[in-house]
């Protein structure tokens, strides 16, 4: 049985996702001791890199997803099943910073597919869970997905593709309007369809996905592979900001604000 990590990274006009992927790949090698394959395009791939990927897979990306700041190439995640060279794959967002070996334990207890169904925010504990709409499903998260190559998992990824192709219909059906395609919502809808609209606890990673949210900054301490950070938070009280902080170490987290990644990679200003 082969195990490895799959990262999708397509540069946008605003963010260098390839650079984020390479930064994270080194951390994955260090903390999880797993090989990393990147799925990217020829425009994102630099002419020269010191990092040795397990495999580099180039595809032609779908660039039809636009946000206010430009193109966001996040479609095509459904290809992970076919593209992964591993029997067991961890599919991670490049902005999910690996700081511990915790994800290795997922391989011990999942059946053939699992993802996060609950989240929390560092510095903003007990935040509400995200819903597709007021009366819709609670959102699942495509940030961390572990899967084996089984027929059921193949169906899940084919269903994600189907949802992507018919995203407007599903937005209408579930009464949400994100304006842009979101993998989290496509996964939520697809997994529910494949599971007959029943939720199976075994499909979920049994701890919260930790987000770094709004008004929060991350300051890295130590060298490139260290996992010590200071997290600062602007707590608005009576029209004034009270600056608060905590020290964290060896905890994985997901950066919602991609601008923070720059500070982590190159040092905070």
């Amino acid at each position: 049985m082969t195990r490895g990590v799959l990262l999708f990274a397509f540069n946008s006009p605003k963010y260098n996702y390839y650079e984020m992927a390479e930064y994270n790949a080194k951390r994955i090698n260090h903390y999880l001791n797993l090989p990393v394959t990147i799925v990217t395009d020829t425009d994102s791939l630099p002419a020269h890199t010191d990092y040795v990927w397990d495999k580099i897979i180039t595809v032609t990306p779908d660039k039809s997803n636009t946000r206010t700041w430009g193109i966001w190439i996040n479609k095509g995640r459904f290809q992970a099943y076919d593209l992964s060279p591993y029997d067991e794959t961890l599919l991670l967002d490049v902005d999910y910073i690996v700081n511990s070996d915790k994800l290795n334990s997922v391989f011990d207890y999942y059946d053939d597919f699992c993802c996060h169904n609950t989240i929390d925010f560092l510095m903003q504990p007990n935040s509400a869970q995200e819903m597709l709409s007021y009366y819709g499903y609670s959102s699942l998260w495509a940030t961390v997905v572990a899967f084996k190559k089984t027929n059921r998992v193949k169906n899940i990824f084919e269903c994600i593709h189907m949802v992507q192709k018919n995203y407007d219909f599903y937005m209408n059906l579930h009464s949400f309007n994100t304006g842009i395609f979101r993998n989290d919502y496509a996964l939520t809808i697809a997994l529910d369809i494949v599971n007959g609209h029943l939720r199976n606890e075994r499909d979920f990673i049994p701890w919260n996905l930790m987000h770094i949210g709004t008004n929060t900054s991350v300051h890295k301490e130590g060298n490139e592979l260290d996992s010590n950070y200071i997290i600062t938070f602007d707590n608005w009280q009576r029209g004034k900001i009270k600056k608060e902080y905590i020290n964290v170490s060896n905890i994985d987290f997901h950066l919602i604000n991609k601008d923070l990644f720059e500070g982590i990679m190159h040092g905070s200003e």
Binding site: E201, I246, N250
Partner: protein
Amino acid sequence: MDTKTLLAESKARFNHNSAKSYLKEKYSSKLLVAEQSGLWKADAQTISFLNSMDVDSIVLIDTFNNPVQVDREKLLTVLKDTYNTVMTDWYNEWKELESKR
């Protein structure tokens, strides 16, 4: 700018409640153990229950709500080891953070 200067200049205060929540998130998940085809939490309740029984084999409900037949002594040993390791780390990090002002 280094982080100490940054914290001093912004007059940032250490938030003990957020630190407590972060530690709970970090260490609670480390108490989870996959053993004998079930997923278990090495908490005081499960350890006490396993300790109080005097049978070799027992059926327990795991964290996925499935009944699983387990070797009691073997599971107890694993859960006790996990509990001691994780709780000691949790305590040590908490003491370190508690000293911050």
